[in-house]
Amino acid sequence: MTDRTPGAVVGVDVGGTFTDLVELDQKTGRVRLSKVPSTLDNQAYGVLNALEAAGVDLAALDLIVHGTTTTTNAVLERKLSRTGLITTQGFRDVLELGRRTRPQPYGMKGQFTPLIPRDLRLEVPERMDAAGLVVTALTEEAVRKASQTLIDAGCESVVVHFLHAYANPAHELRAAEILRDIWPNTHITMGHSLLSESREFERGVTAAVNASVQPLLDRYIQRLTDELGQGGYTGEVLVMNGNGGMVSARRVSQEAAKTVMSGPASGVMAAAYTGRKAGLGNLITYDMGGTSTDVALIRNAEPTVSNEIEIEYAMPIHVPMVDVRTVGAGGGSIAKVNPAGLLEVGPESAGAAPGPICYGRGGAQPTISDANMVLGRLDPSRLNAVDGGISLDHIRQIFARELGAPLGLDATGAAAAVIRIANMKMAGAIRMVSISLGADPRDFALFAFGGAGPLHASALARELGIPRVMVPPRPGITNAIGCVVADLRHDFVRTVNTPLDSLDSTLLPSVFAAQCAEGEALIAKENIEIRNIKRIYSVDMQFIGQTHLLRVPLDRPDVAPATLRQLFEEAYFNRFRVDLADIRANVVNANCSVIGTRAELDLSALIDPAERRETLDAALMTRRDVFFDDWHDTPVYWRDHLPERFRIEGPAIIQQMDTTVLIEPGDVAAADGQGNILIEIGGAA
C-alpha cells in the first residue's frame, strides 16, 4: 500500500454566521486557524476566504474535509430544486398530510409547507401489499407520461415513492429505469434506497429531502472543487455527513439527505475524539451559541445515533444521524417579566439581528449575553468595538427598567436572576435529553463548546450534579476540528422484526456479515488512508406489544438468542427500572456501523505552545469585578498564555479569541496536558 498519509489537513465548517477553518500539518505540527463570515448564497466564497485568511497553501495541502449547511438551509428555507414526485395512485398527498399533528400542543395556529407542491406530485397505477406481493401491476406508460409532465414543468430531480417498496422494490426499480431512459438525470431518488423501512410519510419525506437538495449540493460541490482546483489544489475533498462520518465529495450528493445536520454532528465527533484522548469517554456535549443550544450524549467515546431525527415540524429524516437535540436558549434569548410578575427567559430570541443589546445593532431587549456583560463575565471593553458604541450603563439602565423595577431588584440583581433562570432552564432541558436516552447526567462530564458554552457550563454542571466540565482548546471552532478528526463511516439498518424465540441463530450473523462487506467495500473506494476498520453492532428490541425500541449494543456479531434476551432485559431494567420477565421480546432491527478509522491526530498544538508563559501570573491579563453571589475581584487570564500545567481556583475567568471560560467560586480548573481545561465542580478531585 502506498503512503497516503496526508500531511496537511484542513477542516472547514460553514455555519449560519461564521465559516471556521483549522489546518493541521502532521509533518511539521503547524496549526492554522481562521474564522470568517459565512457567504450563504455561495458558501464556496466563505471557504476560500477562510483558506486565504489562514494562509493555507492550496498546492501543498493534502486533504480538505468540509462540513456544510447547504442542504439544511435549503430545507429550512424551502429554497429547493424543483422536484417532482411519482407515486402510487391514491397517495400523492402523503407528503402533505403527514401524521395528523400540529406544531405545538397548545395553540390552534400553525402551518406546514410540503417539500414538493401538489401539482408536481403525480400518481401512477401500481400497488404492492404489505407482504411485497403485486396487487396492481405497474402501468409503465403512466410512468412515461408522468416523467414527461415533470420534465415539461421544469423539474430537475424526481422522487419515485411507492407504497411497500421496502418489502418489494421491483416497481420502484422499474419506474426508475424507465425514467432514466427518457430523462437522462442523475437526480432520481427511489423511496426505498435511503431507508428501507415501512412508514410511508417518513420514508417519503426522507427521499423528497434527498431529491430536492441533490442538484443544489451537486452544484455547490462542483463550484467549490473548481475554485479549489484553480487555486492549485489537487487533493481529495471529503464532506461530513450527519452520522459524523465523511464521504467523498464525488459521491456525497447521491445520498444528499445524509449531509443534513453535518455541522452539529462534527462538533459532537470532535468532542468524542477529544474526550477519548483525554480518557473521558462519557460526555454530555453542550454547544451554546447566539441563537440556540445543542446537546448530545457520548457513551464510551461513541456519540448516540438516532434514525429518527426531525429537523423541524413534520420534517423527519430517517437515516442514522448523530442525535443532536436543540434545547432552545442561546445568548440572544430574551428575558422579560410576565404578567404574573415572574421572570422568564426565552423562548423568544433576539437572534443574530438585531441581537443582544451589547451587539450594538439596535437590540433593545435584555438577553442572556447582556446579563453576562452586566455581571462582568464578558469583557466590557469589547463594547467599545461594536458598531453602535453601546455603553455598559446603557445596558444596566435597560435591565433596571425592564426587569429590575417589576422584580424589586437593581440592574445587577436582575442580571443575576436572568442567568440563574436561564441556567435552570438549560439544565432541565439537558436533564430531559439525557433521561430520554436512558442516562443519568451525573455519570458524565460536560463538554462545553460554542461561543457561550464555557461561560455557563460550570453552573449547569453544578445544577445537574455533574462533577466535571471539559473545555477544549478551541471551543469556538469545534465543528471544524470535528471535520479534521472524522472517520469514514457507513451505517446500516436492516429490519428483522422477528420474535426472539423464533429467531434463527444464523440470521443476525449473516445480516451483520453482509452489512460489514458492503461498508468495507465503500470504504475501500475512498482514496484515504485507513488505520483500521471498526465494526459496531447493535440490535433494536422491544417487548411484544410495545412500539418503542430499545437499542442493545452487542460486542460481537454472533450473539446467541438466549444471550440477547438477557442483554435486553438488563438494558430494559437499567433504563426503566421495570422487570418484565414474562413477556416475549421482539428483535426489530439489526444495525451495523462500519468505520474506517484514520490515523490519530495530535490536537495539543491547537493553542500554539510558543505562546505559553512560564507562570500563571504571567498569563494574567487583568483583574475585574465579576458578580457571582456578590461582586468578586476576579483574575482574568489569556488562554493562549496559560502555562502547560496550571491550577486555578475560582472565581476566575479565562478569555480567548473564541470564547470566555467562567470558573465559579469553589471550582478548580486545571490543564490536562492535552490542551483541555478540566473544571472540577466544588473543587473535588
Binding site: R100, P339, A340, G408, G428, R431, M432, G545, H548
Partner: protein
C-alpha cells in the same frame, strides 16, 4: 420569610421538571401505543387538602389539563369521609370511574400520596389511556351504548399497590375483565414507575430548597397564576359573548345535541354559562363534569398558551349552567364520547364565542372530531381475531395570520395517526386512497385547512365497521364572514351498494364482506373572514393545486378564472365580487 420572585421562578421550573420527567418516564416504558406513541397520558402534582392542581407535565394530553384535579379532589374527599380506605406510604390507588372526576372508562388514573415527615404533603397522579377496559366493544368506543356498564369495567378508587406491592387479587379482577390482558402489566408498571420517579424528584427538590420555601412558593405561584390569567382576561372587552355548537347525534337517538354558551367578562372574571344546552342523552355523547371543565380550560389554553397549568389559572374562570344538561351526565349515562368528541365541541363553542373579542388570537373552528373508525373481525390468513382503529385528523380553522393547517390532530389530543403501511401489515385491509379532502376547507380571507379522504377495503374474512365521529351534519364553524368547513362523510360500499349511516357520523357493527369498502372524508376547518377579500392569486393557486375547482373558486370566493393555463379574470372577478 419572604419569597423573592427569582426563587419562585426556580421552584416553578423545578415543579414543572418533576412533572415532565413523570410524563417522559410513563411514555417511554408504556406498552400501549396509545400512551407510548400517542402520548395519551398526563402526570401531575396535586394538593393534599383538595386535590387542586399544583403542576402538570407540559407534554400531557390537553384534555387531562383539568380533569385530574377533580379526580384527586374526589379521592381526597372520599378518604376523608371514610368511603375509601386511607393510604399508607407506598400505596397507589387506581380509579377510572367517569363520575368521580374522570373522562371515559379507558382513561385509568393512578394516584399516590407523597409523604414528608410522615404526613401527606401532596398527591402525585397520572392518567393513561388503556387500549381496552372491557365492555361491549373492543376499545370501549361503543356508538350505541345506553349505560356505562356496556362501556367497560368501572373501578372505584382502590389501592392497586399496597405499600409498594401490586395487589394480585385486585389485579386479577381487572385482567379477567379486559381484552389483551397479558400486556397490561407493562402499562401498569410503567404508570406506577412514573409516580415513583416523581416522588424521588420531588423529594430532591424539597431537600434542596427546604419544605417551607416550596410550600410558600406553591401558594404564591397559585396566586400569581390567577393574576396572569386575569391579565389575559382583561384583553377581552367587558360584555357577553354567545355561541352555539352542535353534536350530530348521540348515536342512539338521531337528533342533534346543542351546546349553548354565553361567556361573560366582568371585572377579573370570565363566566362560561352553558344554560339551555341539551339534556343528558341516551347514547354515549354525554360529558361528565370534570371533562366539561377541562374542555373549557384547554380551550382557554389554546387561546392563551402562555398560561401556566396551575389551579390558580382556573380560578378566574367560572363554569355554570351545566346541571341537568348532557355536559354533566350522571350514573349510569354512557360517556365514551365525552373525551374524544363532546370535549372538542365544547372547545369549539368557546372559540366561537371568543373570536369576536379576540380576533387575533382565536381561530375559526377546527375539524373537532377524533375520526374514530374501528374495524373488528377475523383474519383467516392469520387465523385470529383483530381490532383495527383508524383515527384521522381534519382541517384547522383559518385565523388572523394564515390559512388553517390540513389534517391536524384533534383539538383535545396530540396523537399521531398510524401510517397506512403499518395498518396493512397488521390487518387484512388495503387502502385505495389517502389524500386531501378536496374542497373541504371553509372559504374565507384565510380559508380553513383540508380534511382527509381515505378509502379502505376489507381483503379477506368477515368484519364489522363502527364509527364514532362527528361534524357530519354541521360543518366546523366559519367566523367573521368565513364559511363553514365541509362536513364529515362516511360511505360504506357493500358490493355496488353505497350505505350511509343513518346518524351520518356514528354507527355500530356494519357487517363487511371481502371487497367491501369504507370511504371516509373528514371535515375541513372553518374559514376566517370574508372569502371575497381573499387575494385572487391565492385562490388561483389553490385551483392549480386542485384543492378547489374553478367552479368553487367562483361560487365560494367570487374569483373567475379563464384560459389555459388558468389566470385570474380580473374584470369578471371584480364584477362578481361587487355583488
Amino acid at each position: 420569610m419572604t419569597l423573592d420572585p427569582i426563587t419562585l421562578s426556580v421552584i416553578q421550573a423545578g415543579l414543572q421538571q418533576v412533572c415532565d420527567e413523570m410524563d417522559l418516564s410513563f411514555s417511554r416504558a408504556a406498552f400501549s401505543p396509545v400512551i407510548a406513541e400517542a402520548n395519551d397520558r398526563s402526570d401531575g402534582i396535586y394538593s393534599a387538602e383538595d386535590g387542586s392542581l399544583i403542576a402538570q407535565g407540559a407534554g400531557g394530553l390537553p384534555v387531562f389539563v383539568g380533569t385530574m384535579q377533580y379526580s384527586t379532589r374526589t379521592l381526597v374527599e372520599m378518604i376523608r369521609d371514610g368511603k375509601v380506605a386511607a393510604p399508607k406510604p407506598g400505596d397507589i390507588y387506581i380509579v377510572n370511574d367517569p363520575y368521580l372526576g374522570g373522562t371515559h372508562l379507558m382513561d385509568v388514573r393512578f394516584a399516590m400520596p407523597f409523604y414528608r415527615d410522615g404526613q401527606i404533603y401532596c398527591w402525585l397522579s397520572n392518567t393513561g389511556h388503556w387500549p381496552d377496559t372491557g365492555g361491549a366493544v373492543p376499545g370501549g368506543f361503543s356508538a350505541s351504548a345506553t349505560a356505562v356498564e356496556q362501556e367497560g369495567l368501572r373501578l372505584p378508587p382502590v389501592r392497586l399497590f399496597k405499600q409498594g406491592d401490586l395487589d394480585p387479587e385486585i389485579y386479577s379482577i381487572i385482567t379477567s375483565n379486559i381484552r389483551v390482558a397479558d400486556q397490561r402489566i407493562g402499562d401498569v408498571k410503567a404508570q406506577a414507575a412514573a409516580l415513583l420517579v416523581g416522588e424521588q424528584r420531588l423529594n430532591e427538590l424539597m431537600d434542596r430548597y427546604g419544605d417551607d420555601t416550596v410550600t410558600q412558593s406553591i401558594a404564591e405561584l397559585r396566586r400569581r397564576a390567577a393574576v396572569q390569567m386575569k391579565a389575559f382576561i382583561h384583553e377581552i372587552p367587558e360584555g357577553i359573548y354567545t355561541a352555539k355548537a352542535w353534536i350530530d347525534s348521540d348515536g342512539v337517538v338521531n337528533e342533534p345535541l346543542e351546546i349553548r354558551l354565553a361567556v361573560c367578562r366582568k371585572g377579573d372574571r370570565l363566566t362560561f354559562d352553558f344554560s339551555g344546552s341539551s339534556a343528558p342523552c341516551a347514547g354515549p355523547m354525554n360529558s361528565v363534569r370534570a371533562t366539561t371543565y377541562s374542555s373549557v380550560y384547554l380551550a382557554m389554553r389554546h387561546i392563551f398558551p402562555e398560561v401556566p397549568m396551575s389551579a390558580g389559572a382556573f380560578e378566574p374562570l367560572e363554569i355554570i349552567g351545566i346541571d341537568d344538561t348532557f355536559l354533566d351526565a350522571q350514573y349510569p349515562r354512557p360517556v365514551s364520547g365525552c373525551a374524544a368528541e363532546v370535549s372538542q365541541r365544547i372547545a369549539e363553542a368557546v372559540f366561537a364565542a371568543l373570536v369576536a373579542p379576540l380576533p387575533d388570537r382565536v381561530t375559526a373552528a377546527p375539524a373537532g372530531t377524533s375520526g374514530n373508525f374501528a374495524l373488528g373481525g377475523n383474519d383467516p390468513a392469520k387465523r385470529r381475531d383483530f381490532v383495527m382503529y383508524q383515527i384521522s385528523g381534519g382541517g384547522y380553522g383559518g385565523n388572523a395570520d394564515h390559512d388553517g393547517l390540513s389534517n391536524g390532530c384533534s383539538t383535545i389530543g396530540i396523537s399521531k395517526a398510524p401510517p397506512v403501511e403499518i395498518m396493512e401489515q397488521a390487518f387484512p385491509v388495503l387502502y385505495h386512497r389517502y389524500s386531501l379532502h378536496e374542497g373541504s376547507g371553509g372559504a374565507g380571507l384565510h380559508r380553513g385547512g383540508f380534511g382527509l379522504d381515505y378509502e379502505v377495503e376489507l381483503r379477506r374474512g368477515a368484519a364489522r365497521a363502527s364509527f364514532v365521529m362527528d361534524h357530519g351534519r354541521f360543518g366546523p364553524q366559519g367566523v367573521l364572514g368565513g364559511r363553514d368547513g365541509e362536513v364529515n362523510k362516511v360511505t360504506v360500499w357493500r358490493g355496488d351498494e353505497a350505505y350511509v349511516p343513518e346518524h351520518l357520523s356514528k354507527e355500530q357493527d356494519i357487517p363487511l364482506s371481502p371487497g367491501d369498502r369504507v370511504h371516509v372524508r373528514t371535515p375541513g376547518g372553518g374559514g376566517y373572514g370574508d372569502p371575497f377579500t381573499r387575494p385572487p392569486e391565492a385562490v388561483l393557486r389553490d385551483v392549480q393545486l386542485e384543492r378547489y375547482t374553478a367552479e368553487q373558486a367562483a361560487a365560494l370566493f367570487g374569483v373567475i378564472l379563464k384560459g389555459q393555463p388558468l389566470v385570474v379574470d380580473a374584470d369578471a372577478t371584480a364584477q362578481r365580487r361587487s355583488h
